[in-house]
Amino acid sequence: MERDVSNFSLLVLIVFVMIPFTISYFYQLGLKKDILWSSIRGAIQLFLIGLILTYLFNLKPLIGIPIMLSVMITIATFHARKKGKELPNVFMTVLVGLITIEIIVLALWLSFDMVSFTPEEIIPMSGMVIGNSMVAMGLSLERMKSEFETNHGKILAALSLGATPKQASHLTVRRTLNAALIPNIDQLKTIGLVQLPGMMTGLILGGIEPIVAIKYQLVISISIFSSVSLSAIIVSMVMYRFFYNQNMQLVDFQKIKNG
């Protein structure tokens, strides 16, 4: 089955955009420009990626997949590092973290034949894993900075009693991990109850049987769940060190805070 959305139907979508636009106009929210710009930009981005994907899908998997994965990981790294750009080595930590996660996920998918090594399957599914990991890393970085700021006194007290940076950061790392994992766990708990997950919806709309769609959804949901957990763990375990110098002293906190 090859179902398509007509160009006219797409144009009708403008009506949907006009709803928030009108609300912004009447309530003077000052968001008109943002609403228009994000809608146009989103549409252009998606069409461009559509063209790129069509091109990549026609390449040999061994060429197309590495190219697209590299691009996705690079963009995700630049985006996630913004959340902690004042910290040293954040770019490398995020980059190596994302590569590691992608390798682990790919190894699992391919070893157990969950996903076939074709651009059509690997690229969108990896996109979801990398995208969610990117968000988790960014959130972990932000959370870690705010935990170090909030608990500055307690960390100083711990150091003063003879704690190493690892021991002094225990509480901070734990809270960062908690904050990153809890929404993820909650999401998995309510999966399918509140809204049908995007990939499953897409497959069903594309004519795949619901049970098969659910199997794919499970593969991607569990993969995302583990990747997000791994992302938070990598960021927390590596980045806390950079809040200290080699003499087990907190580095100038204002400097970190203000960048």
């Binding site: 006194g153 307690k154 100083l156 007290a157 711990a158 150091l159 003063s160 009693l161 003879g162 704690a163 190493t164 021991q167 509480l171 003499n247 087990m248 002293q249």
Partner: protein, 233 residues
């Protein structure tokens, strides 16, 4: 001659300019002076919560950076200006330091609470339920749990009312006497300095402007700066 514990030579750190200082075993040093004169920074140098930008610090005659940092901090215990207690209970706080070195022995908690005049029922009390004075007592007990040789106190009573100040001072006096603790204390309270100290260091503009025996140095200040400081305090 008494054993020299700390020798600071031409130490500079942020506001601190060219600090030269020698501290002997058993002394009770009171560091006082206007806000922003570098008192807390100076105190942090003694257990390496901070290091000098230049100059040298000797600890028992050896460069201070030749010592293991956690061990040094354990021996030179600091009580910070605010208690910064850890979750959850009083007991968790008392155990924290010794547990880092696998040295916690059950039974220690009673002695520690005795030092700071808190009843034994407080052991399982959540720290959030304590008053300001009680929190500072727990903070002091937590530092004492590490059995420090030197006690560093960073204005530990600055956030407390007169009644609490008086009773914590009494505890401190008893402690310093019974354990013969070398004590270095930052205070903005001259009366407290008089009551607790054997030697005073007057710090202003990042420099030691005057030092002398306590309480004598307050009776005959040598510099106008100290005289002015006494007048306004």
């Amino acid at each position: 001659m008494a054993e020299s514990i700390f020798d600071l030579k031409h130490v500079r750190k942020r506001v601190l300019k060219d600090i030269n200082l020698s501290i002997q075993k058993g002394e009770r040093i009171m560091i006082f002076g206007p806000s922003g004169s570098g008192k807390s920074t100076l105190l942090h140098l003694f257990n390496r919560l901070e290091d000098p930008d230049s100059g040298q610090i000797f600890y028992y005659g050896e460069p201070i950076d030749s010592y293991d940092i956690p061990q040094l901090r354990k021996k030179n215990g600091i009580v910070l200006q605010y208690p910064y207690l850890f979750p959850e209970t009083v007991l968790d706080n008392l155990k924290y330091g010794p547990s880092l070195f696998d040295e916690w022995q059950s039974g220690n908690e009673d002695k520690l609470l005795d030092y700071v005049n808190l009843p034994k029922e407080y052991l399982d009390k959540p720290v959030d339920d304590l008053s300001g004075g009680e929190k500072q007592r727990v903070s002091l007990a937590r530092t004492l749990a590490n059995q420090p040789e030197i006690l560093l106190l960073d204005e530990p009573t600055s956030a407390l009312d007169d009644q609490n100040i008086e009773s914590i001072e009494e505890d401190l006096m008893t402690l310093m006497d019974s354990k013969a603790l070398t004590t270095i204390m930052v205070t903005h309270n001259l009366h407290q300095a008089k009551r607790l100290g054997t030697r005073g260091l007057f710090l202003a503009d990042g420099m030691i402007k005057e030092e002398g025996d306590l309480p004598g140095m307050f009776d005959q200040p040598k510099t106008d700066e100290l005289q002015k400081f006494i007048n306004v305090n």
